[in-house]
């Protein structure tokens, strides 16, 4: 390269063209082609130093992009795993809600058993055992069993359900079943069950209201606080 009087330098057009071509490759992320062009240097002059400087930076750019792509791929994998875990947690949460049936003492001597989800023979058996035990333990006088969410039961399970209500009566407590829907009503009719002594009401709210009103009538002024 020669420096002329004005301090300008003469560069072979082919070398400039090659440099621009190399950078064009880099601009479309074809770093291999870019570096292939840049690395074949002829003279080791100042222009070659410029080309070498580009080589250094393009190499680093390519490396940085590769690392970024790898990191992104790893993040995507981690995200998928996380999403799967969240889905599992969601499934478990839905299931946990009906895994055990909680018995709530709404006020002294009045138990409420809200039943949600799917009732199979296992659940029916467990429910019965727990309810009867709790009636005894709390000396409850009323048990309200709400099955608003239940739209179907096997006939034998439904039969057992009614037997549970009758057992409650045998313990000396009132049993109210609320939320029987048409499907369950059909099943109960189909098995020809005898509902004598068991009160059925449309909703849990109705059941609580009725109980409250009756307690009020029996013991005016006293809000079913219990005998003690």
């Amino acid at each position: 390269m020669a420096t002329d009087a004005d301090g300008g330098i003469a560069i072979q057009e082919t070398r400039l063209t090659r440099l621009i071509e190399a950078l064009s490759y880099a601009s479309i992320e074809d770093y291999d082609s870019c570096l292939n062009l840049l690395r074949n240097l002829g003279t080791a002059d100042e222009f070659a130093e410029l080309e070498t400087a580009f080589t250094i930076f393009i190499e680093e750019l390519a490396e940085a992009k590769r690392q970024l792509r790898d990191a992104l791929a790893e993040t995507e994998v981690a995200n998928r795993e996380l999403a799967a875990k969240l889905a599992t947690i969601e499934m478990q949460q839905a299931a946990i809600r009906d895994l055990s049936t909680p018995i709530i003492e709404v006020w002294a001597g009045v138990l409420c058993l809200p039943v949600v989800g799917i009732v199979d023979s296992q659940r029916s058996a467990e429910m019965t055992e727990t309810l009867l035990e709790t009636i005894i333990a709390k000396q409850a006088r009323t048990a309200i069993v709400d099955i608003t969410g239940i739209d179907v039961m096997d006939t034998k399970t439904a039969d057992h359900f009614i037997k549970m209500a009758k057992a409650v009566r045998l313990l000396g407590a009132d049993c109210i079943i609320s939320g029987i829907n048409p499907g369950i009503a059909q099943t109960l009719t189909h098995i020809g069950v005898d509902l004598t002594g068991i009160r059925t009401l449309r909703s849990l709210r109705d059941a609580l209201q009725v109980h409250l009103r009756e307690t009020e009538q029996l013991h005016p002024g006293r809000r079913a606080e219990g005998e003690s």
Partner: protein
């Protein structure tokens, strides 16, 4: 100032009275580079002037973070010249890039000279010339004579 000269693949040590010797090999990593820079900053605190003598024959690359750290380190030490020898074109370009960045942050008057030679002997001769210049300048300043440059 007594350190084991080897830092990973690299070598650096102090040669009294005022030279930091550096032999670079392959790719200078952050672990290697930051330790080299740390030692240079430490040695530089106790000296009035420093020359950097670098064997560039085997240098392949210096990580960007190391280059940045080197620029700020070199600005902190009383550097009066840097000479690299046996440098292939890529090593020469790397050294020039760092050094040019360093000089961009200082005034024109403080520009530190950068030089490249083929052999170590030539490099040391250049350092000797710089020393003579500086001593002469200091002497002239001491006698109060003006010194055009």
């Amino acid at each position: 100032m007594a350190y084991e000269p080897n830092i990973g693949k690299q070598i650096t040590y102090f040669e009294p009275p005022d030279i930091f010797i550096l032999k670079l090999h392959g790719g200078v990593t952050w672990e290697e580079g930051s330790e080299i820079n740390r030692r240079h900053r430490e040695w530089g605190k106790t000296l009035d002037r420093v020359f950097l003598l670098i064997d560039l024959a085997e240098l392949d690359r210096i990580d960007p973070e190391v280059r940045k750290d080197a620029t700020s380190t070199l600005a902190e030490i009383p550097l009066r010249g840097m000479v690299g020898f046996s440098a292939p074109i890529k090593a020469k370009v790397i050294a020039k890039l760092i050094f040019t960045a360093l000089n961009l942050f200082s005034n024109k008057a403080d520009r530190i000279p950068l030089h490249f030679t083929d052999t170590e002997a030539e490099a040391r001769a250049w350092i000797e010339e710089r020393r003579r210049e500086l001593d002469a300048g200091a002497a002239k300043a001491a006698t109060g004579a003006a010194h055009g440059n």
